[in-house]
Every structure is written in C-alpha cells, then in structure tokens.
C-alpha cells in the first residue's frame, strides 16, 4: 500500500457465485491487493481458536435482538392472514376492529398506500394465494389488543380452486393457479452424448427421489421495528442483509438511501430465510409514518412457518450409467415446489459439477403451488440434489459390485471444473475422502451391512460428497480507525447471523494491524457503515476478510509513516508487533507514538478485490455416517457422523467446528424428522409450530467429528479462506440415506426417513 496510489478506480469483470448460480459482474478495483497469507505464513491470531467476542453479551441476556427492542410510545402491528389457500378479497370491513380501544389503525388493500414488493405494486393482494398470505394489518397499543383486533376484521372472500401439493400441481388435471401454468422451466444443461452413453452402458440404474419441505424455524422469527425521525427512517430488523433491507425500503417507499438506516445488531438465526425486506417491514414503516410513533411488527411462530419461507419439496428422477467401472452418464430431472415464489433453487447443481462424468443432462422445473414462497434454506437445491445424486451413485456401485467410495474416487480427482473447464484454485476432495474413511473406519463396511448392537438391529456405513461455492466476491468495504491509545475500531456493513462473523472481523484486523484481539472493537450490522454483502451463500468470510485485511494494512502503513516521523527512525526499519512499534529491538507502545499527536486518527480503508480470472473457486467435503436401524419399528439411529471439509484456511477453528456440528444437526433434521405436512383439501399447514414439526433436540445428536483439510487457498483471495456456512449441511442426509440402505439392503428414496417410510420399504 505504500508508494503511489493509483490515480483512480478501474472497472473489471469478475465471476461471482451465489447459491449455486454463477454470474459475471462488473467490479470496481481500487488500490492494490496484498500478497496472500500462504501456507507457511506465521500468523498469531488468524488460525487460532478465538472465543466469540460478543459471548458475554449473549450469555448474560444483554445482547439486544430485534424482538427485544422497546421504544417509548411504540405500537404493535399484527397481520391478518388468509385462511384460504386461494381466494379473491372482495371486501374488507375494519370498523369493528377500529372500535376496539387501543387500536390505532388498520391497513388493507383498499386503503394501503402503494408500496412495491417483489414486483407487485402493493403488499395486500387482490387474490391471496396461500394460507397465511397477507390480507390486512392492525396497529395497536399492545400486542394482545392487536391480536384481538385481527379477529374483528370482516373479510369477504371469494374462494378459488387451489393446489398445494407438488405432485398434484404438476398433474395436468389440477387447477391452473398461474397464468402461465403450474410448471415452469428453470434451466437445463448438458455435456457429452447422453443417449449414446446410456445405450453403450454396462449398467443403468434409475430412481425417483422425493424430499420434503423443510421449514427454517429460526428461533427469532422475522420482524422489524420502524422509527421515523422527521424524514429519516431507521429500521431495526432481524436480517441477513441490512443493505438488502435498505434497498427494499427504497423501492417500497421511494425514499433515498441517505434517508434510510437499517440496523441489525444481533439476530436469532436466519439460515437463508432473512435475505431482505418482508411485508412486515413495510407494514411497520407505513404505520410508523402514518401514526408518528415507532411500530414493531414481529411474526409469531405460526406465521413464521406459513409466510417466511421454506426449503422446497422436490421430486427428482435420476438415471445413472456405468461403463468399464466408471460412471459414464447421469441424467437428472428435478421438480421443486416454489409455492408462490418466483425463483427456485436448482437441485441439479451437484450433478453438473461434483464429479468428473463425461455425459450429463439435467433439467430443472419450478412448480407453483398455493403455499408460502420458498426462500433460500442453507445450500438451497444442493442439499436436496446431493441426496438424489449420491443415493443413485451408491445404487450404481451396488449394481456393478464396487465399493461406493472407490467409485467416487475415480471421479473426484479432476483439477478443473467440468462445467466451465476452468482450473480449480484448490481442490482437496480426495484428502477429505481419506481423512473421513480413516475416521469412520470405512474398511469395516460390508456390502450387505453389519450386525447391530443387539439381536435384530442392523448397522450400516454410508458417505457422500459436498460441492459448493464459497469463494466470495466484491463489493465489500471496511474501515479501520486506529485510536491514539493503540486500540482500533473496524466498521463493515456485514451482519453476524450466528456464524461468528464479528470474531473473524476482529481476528483479521488484529492480525494484519499487529495489535491484540481485545484491542479491536467491531462495528457491524448498520447500513451507515461501508457496504458488505448478504450473509448467505457462504459468501461472508471470503468477501469481507480480504477487505478488512486491506483496511488494516492501510492503517498499519499510515501508522508506520507516523511512527517514522515521531520516533525519527527510517520507516523501512519499523514494524508493528502486538501493539508496539518495533525497531532494532526497541519497542514503543502505540499510545506512546501517538502521545503528542493526541486526536489525530489513522483511518485505513480497504475494498474486496475481484476474483481471479480463469479460476473456479469451490469448497469440497465429504461426510461419513454410521447408523443403526431397528427394522421392527423402523427407527434410524445415527451413531456417528464424520464431516471433513476443504474450505481453504480456517480462520477460527473454535467457531468453525461449531458451524460444522450445527450444519450436520440441521441436516439430520432434514434427513430424519423434518417435514411440513399439508392438508390438501383445505390447503393448510398442519404442523406450523415447534410441537408437531420436529427439529432435532439434544437427544437426537450423534457423535460428530468435524475435520478440516485446512490448507490456505492462496489463489482465491488474500486470506486463503473460503466460506463454511453451507458446506456442512449438504452431504449429511445423503450419507445417512446411504448408510441406512447399507444396513437394510433396501433403498429408501424419500426423505425424511421416518419410521413409517422405513417400515413401508421393508414391507
């Protein structure tokens, strides 16, 4: 960073991957990048376990979440939701609700101001399209009063034909609920000659796979508190993307960015579902503007499960062929229920890119239904698709009499991306196989499973691989203020969704600046800070850490300029170590350097550089599972999961391990117990609560061994680190399903693997 600054910014093209989709975007390049921390770099903070810096706030109840905010005079907004899966709203009569003492206002489609939301002009639809769709909203002096008022609003509905089930929606005889039909093309891909490969194959295996709708159930439901101060709107929201909320508010309310501030200090989980503004945000902002007081709009658990997103149910068909002991071809068709969503995740992503297979053809379809929209759920598409792909590979291996790990090994070594042809910046999938196989004891695996721990029980081993992006992307900016006492404040507009982002920000800053971790304060979760991307898609670390490093380096170089002048020592002889400027054995505390400069402050800034051209940035991993199954009652008990990941450098081994364990546990819910149940005739969700929708408890957790290859990907970015949010949820369900098939000798192609499905398969 020393020497001349480039006179201006350059604009270049860069490849960006988000949630499995790759796009080429323009990027602004300002300044020069730093050399990457390579494999031999001696790092003092990065790569060492660091406790979460907000830990004390979280264990004392001091951490303030959106749910916890209370302002003087604050009103409570609640939303009236459609009881019908599809209906026209003919009339809304709020008079009885307005007559209830404490009710301040009611908004509905006949009186609400226009407010654009996801391509629609207003938040209250003429035709409501799922049970839970927004019909009206109430603002009242207490939440109880607001709830009571909802029951007093009369709505005249014209009930229309509906369809809620994925497979029913595909059926031609079902009601058409969308002008353009229920089934929409969502992309296709092919390479090689599939037909010929299938014709010439030694063996072909075909299977139909089903996965169920998984509901995020973040413990903090979606919600926002809106506060107007004159024409300045501040919104506190539980979100993974403060800047996305800002953009949504700008579009809805048509006010400039400079008049909007979005804050998310702490948030109680998102898992992909909190990617931007919600209708509740707009409701809060509209009421707050109309009534001149802060307004809180927070969903309850049932609303969360009806109207705040879910992981699509899928129907998938996989045909896979072998020739000469190798996989020669894969065909994969996938139908995903989008509910009322207008996009869909792609389950065929792993089929296209995970293994080096010459002939591939995939097609993906988005299916509309009268249910709440999907939203991204931790590795959307990849979790579902990996189950189908990796199950079918095991089936093929069984058919040709080969060890399923050996079959995968033959396709896991490629050094370039089979889709783009670009070389991987790093790929250590085979090492993941080796570490995992050793740790689980793969050599014990037998094609027909093992005897269980008691008479009648069966035991099995299974594994599956993981592919995901995680390379990060610009833009992301950070500033580092070095205070006269040698402490620093990092500002970056990211948010910590529970992954440990705050701590990583502090680690990277402390490392590069040469000060101690506890001398760094981290300010995130505020759109008044420099931009950082959505905390999703495993984007965060690889996007923000390089920017923070640049900002800290900029601060350090300026500090050295200052120190050279103050200490009267040539700059080249100076360095910063642990809060001191050192030169030839002399150590001067930073506070001493600044003593006479008083409030002069060093402000370093850094921006994320573009991704390297002509390289494919990916993360890889493999999970191995050992299960015991009781065929008498259909119970699957997962005993051990070994999760091995290749994410480049691990910045905080403590929180990284937690991230893996958490991903595995969430995946076990998807694999074994989590399933939204719909009443088809009524179109209602029967388990929109935590009583009947089964998320894993502490009792459901097997022994989990998390391992990392932990070699920096020095070509990816200047920190060598890539993302870890999604990878640990991707292959677990597939590994468990393969282990169950190994134990029972029967393949179950429908998740979750409930006792009923196991018994049905054994019948």
């Amino acid at each position: 960073m020393s020497g001349e600054r480039p006179p201006s910014a350059r604009v270049v093209r860069t490849r960006v991957e988000f949630e499995g989709e790759i796009s080429e975007e323009l990027a602004l390049v300002q300044g020069e990048d730093l050399a990457a921390w390579g494999e031999g770099a001696e790092l003092r903070v990065v790569g060492h376990p660091a406790r979460r810096i907000e830990g004390a706030a979280k264990v004392t109840g001091r951490a303030v979440y959106t749910h916890d905010l209370r302002f003087p005079g604050m009103l409570y907004a609640r939303i009236l939701r459609s009881p019908y899966p599809r209906a026209r709203v003919r009339r809304v009569d709020p008079s009885r609700a307005l007559a209830l003492p404490g009710v301040r206002s009611v908004l509905h489609r006949f009186n609400a101001p226009k407010a654009a939301f996801r391509g629609e002009e207003t938040i209250f639809r003429d035709e409501v399209r799922f049970v839970g769709d927004e019909v009206a909203a109430v603002a009242a002096e207490s939440e109880e009063t607001a709830d009571e008022a909802l029951g007093l609003i009369s709505v005249d509905y014209e009930v229309l034909p509906h369809v809620v089930d994925l497979e029913e929606a595909i059926d031609d005889s079902s009601p058409r609920i969308d002008e353009k039909g229920n089934v929409h093309d969502a992309g296709s891909y092919q390479r090689g000659d599939l037909r010929r490969a299938m014709r010439e194959a030694d063996a072909v295996v075909e299977g139909t796979y089903r996965t169920s709708t998984q509901m995020h159930n973040s413990l903090e439901t979606h919600g926002a508190v809106a506060v107007w101060d004159g024409d300045l709107l501040t919104v506190f929201e539980s979100t993974q993307h403060i800047f996305g909320v800002r953009q949504g508010l700008q579009a809805a309310l048509r006010i400039p960015y400079a008049k909007i501030r979005v804050v998310c200090e702490h948030m109680g989980g998102g898992f992909g579902s909190k990617g931007g503004i919600g209708k509740y945000t707009i409701v809060a902002a509209l009421f707050a503007r109309e009534l001149g007081v802060p307004v809180r709009c927070v969903l309850d658990r049932r609303e969360e499960n009806l109207a705040a997103g879910n992981r699509s149910a899928t129907l998938q068909r996989v045909r896979i062929a072998a020739k000469g002991g190798r996989i020669s071809a894969i065909a994969h068709d996938a139908w995903s229920s989008a509910g009322q969503g207008r996009w869909v995740a792609d389950p065929t992503g792993p089929t296209k890119g995970l293994y080096d297979v010459p002939n591939v053809a995939v097609r993906s379809y988005r299916v509309m239904a009268n249910t709440g929209s999907l939203s991204a759920f931790r590795a959307p598409g990849y979790v579902e698709g990996t189950f189908a792909l990796e199950s079918s590979i095991d089936e093929l291996a069984d058919t040709i009499g080969m060890d399923p790990l050996e079959l995968r090994r033959r396709h896991a070594g490629a050094t370039s991306d089979p889709i783009s042809g670009l070389r991987y910046s790093a790929k250590r999938l085979i090492e993941c196989f080796d570490i995992g196989a050793e740790e689980i004891g793969w050599s014990r695996r037998r094609p027909k499973g093992l005897r269980g721990s008691a008479p009648g029980l069966r035991r099995g081993l299974g594994m599956a691989s993981q592919l995901w992006g995680g390379g990060g992307a610009p833009p992301a900016y950070a500033t580092v203020h070095l205070n006269p006492d040698g402490t620093a404040i990092v500002r970056i507009g990211t948010q910590d969704i529970g992954t440990g982002t705050r701590t990583i920000v502090a680690q990277v800053c402390a490392e590069e600046l040469g000060i101690d971790l506890d001398a760094v304060r981290v300010e995130i979760g505020d759109t008044d800070s420099p931009y950082a991307p959505i905390s999703a898609g495993s984007l965060t670390v690889a996007s923000i850490a390089p920017a923070i490093r640049l900002a800290a380096a900029d601060a350090r170089e300026q500090l050295l300029d200052v120190a050279s002048g103050v200490l009267e020592v040539p700059r080249a002889e100076l360095a910063v170590e642990r809060g001191h400027v050192v030169s030839r054995g002399a150590r001067t505390p930073l506070a001493k350097v600044f003593e006479e400069l008083q409030n002069y402050t060093v402000v370093g800034r850094g921006g994320r550089m573009p991704n390297p051209e002509d390289l494919s940035l990916k993360t890889f991993g493999a999970h191995f599972a050992e299960v015991e199954v009781d065929p008498a009652v259909g119970e699957v008990r997962v005993e051990k999961v070994v999760a091995v990941h290749d994410i480049g450098r691990v910045i905080d081994p403590l929180t990284a391990r937690s991230q893996v364990e958490g991903g595995v546990i969430q995946a076990l819910g998807f694999a074994l117990t989590e399933e939204r149940v719909l009443d088809r005739p009524l179109g209602r969700v029967l388990n929109a609560d935590l009583e009947r929708y089964k998320v894993p408890t502490v009792m459901d957790v097997p022994r989990i061994v998390a391992r990392f290859v932990d070699v920096p990907d020095s070509e990816a970015n200047n920190t060598g680190a890539k993302g870890l949010g999604e990878p640990p949820i991707i292959p677990t369900a597939a590994a468990v399903a393969n282990a169950v098939a190994n134990a029972l000798g029967v393949r179950i192609r429908h998740l979750p693997l409930t006792p009923a499905r196991v018994l049905e398969a054994l019948a």
């Binding site: 406790r51 979460r52 830990g55 004390a56 706030a57 979280k58 264990v59 004392t60 109840g61 001091r62 951490a63 303030v64 749910h67 916890d68 209370r70 109880e144 709830d147 009571e148 995020h216 159930n217 973040s218 413990l219 903090e220 439901t221 702490h266 109680g268 989980g269 898992f271 309850d300 658990r301 529970g498 992954t499 009652v633 119970e635 699957v636 008990r637 997962v638 403590l654 929180t655 937690s658 991230q659 364990e661 958490g662 595995v664 546990i665 969430q666 819910g669 074994l672 117990t673 609560d689 935590l690 009583e691 089964k694 998320v695 894993p696 408890t697 502490v698 009792m699 459901d700 006792p755």
Partner: protein, 229 residues
C-alpha cells in the same frame, strides 16, 4: 402454583414478586404470562419468546429455584415467589461459571436460545453438582437450539460443573442427590406413548424428548393454565 386463589381480573391486577433478588411489582391483566411481564413490564429481555406454547424452552427462567417455561406461567401465579432470570446470574461483574463455560466451549451461535439453555443448566447444577452427560441432556432436552450447538452445550455444562466445585454460588446437594425442588421435579416424566420400556434404549434417558425415532416421552416444564388470547 396456587389452586385456591381468589378470582382475579378481568382488569389489570398488581403482582408483587422477587426478581433476581430484588422486589418487583407489575400491574398486568391476569392473562399476561410471566414471560411477557418480564420482557415488556420489567425490561428483562434475556428470556425469549420463540414458540409461546411451551415447546422450545427459550423462555426458561427459575421460579423458586425450579426451571419453568415463562411462556406457560402466568405472571399472577408468581405472586410472592422468587424469579431468577439470566440477567441475575452474573455477580459484581463476574460471570457465573455456567456463563463462562458457555463462552469457552462456544455453546451458542446466534445466541437466541442461550438464556434458556443457561438457566436449565444452572438449575441442573444446583441439584446435581456432578452430572453425567446424560443428566445434562435430560436437563436441556426441552431447550431447542436451531443452530445446533448441542454438543458444545453438553460440554459446557460438564465443564461448568467441574469449575463450580468449591465455588460459592449456593450450597449444592451432594452428587447423585435429588432435590424435590430441583429440575427433576419440574420436569415430570411423561408417559411413553409407544409402550416400550425406556431401558431398551439406553442412549435415550427416560423422560427425554427426541424427535427422531419412536415418539419418546417429552418433558414439559410445569404448566400453568393460561387464558387463551
């Protein structure tokens, strides 16, 4: 909880109780839960409202030393009782050993369930100074964590028990002793619905809540009748 108490309401009533060692009073409608009274009237927002129906444990607080779901407990039912919340654990700026252990073992991610997990573990350690891993699991079986910090929560609780030896907080009962006012009493063993004896699944303690497999018995914190909204 009082069974022969006089009829209260429907208007707001005064409720006096002790919160974290200090006298507190609120004026609330009888239908107001302890959770909402703590959060909205007393500004103690550590306990969270997640399910609001006694399934997740994020609202766990101690009433007369016993862990309860504050969303299933009416504020009026706590008159004259002692309520402890996560905010009251740290003393003179020093974290409680359970809090220290949660940080050291990274026993949380988003942190939303953490106040409830911490209170369940604190209650356990008061009645059982040397718990096993299964004891810990039983104590937090009613506390959901969607981030999946469970392995670290168990590790933290065991570490806190070790660290707490000799600590002064409250005289703990001898190892293995069961307190009638402790966690065991607060979480009665529900009947099993599958007809199988608990002993057939040693990994799953009786009274434990599991979502996988055959319906295991589920513990509930003490349930207090609540006016429907």
């Amino acid at each position: 909880m009082p069974r022969s108490s006089p009829t209260l309401g429907p208007g707001a009533v005064d409720v006096a109780f002790e919160v974290n060692g200090r006298a507190a009073s609120v004026r609330v409608p009888p239908r107001r839960t302890l959770l909402d009274a703590l959060r909205d009237e007393l500004g103690l927002t550590g306990a969270k409202r997640v399910c609001d129906e006694g399934t997740c444990g994020a609202c766990t607080v101690l009433v007369d030393g016993r862990p309860v779901y504050a969303c299933m407990t009416l504020a009026v039912a706590c008159a004259g009782r002692s309520v402890e919340t996560v905010e009251g654990l740290a003393r003179d700026g020093a974290l409680h050993p359970v809090q220290e252990a949660f940080i050291a073992h990274d026993a949380f991610q988003c942190g939303f369930c953490t106040p409830g997990q911490v209170m369940s573990v604190v209650a356990l350690l008061r009645s059982n100074a040397a718990p096993t891993a299964d004891d810990v699991k039983r104590a937090v079986a009613g506390n959901l964590c969607r981030c999946g910090a469970y392995p670290n929560i168990v590790a933290a609780a065991l570490a806190a028990a070790r660290a707490k030896k000799g600590a002064s907080e409250r005289p703990a009962l001898p190892a293995g002793a069961r307190s009638t006012s402790g966690v065991e009493a607060a979480r009665p063993k529900a009947e099993r619905v599958d007809g199988k004896g608990a002993s057939e699944r040693p990994a799953l303690p009786a009274g434990a809540r599991s979502t996988s497999g055959v319906e295991a018995a589920r513990p509930k914190a003490e349930r207090v009748e609540r006016t429907q909204r």
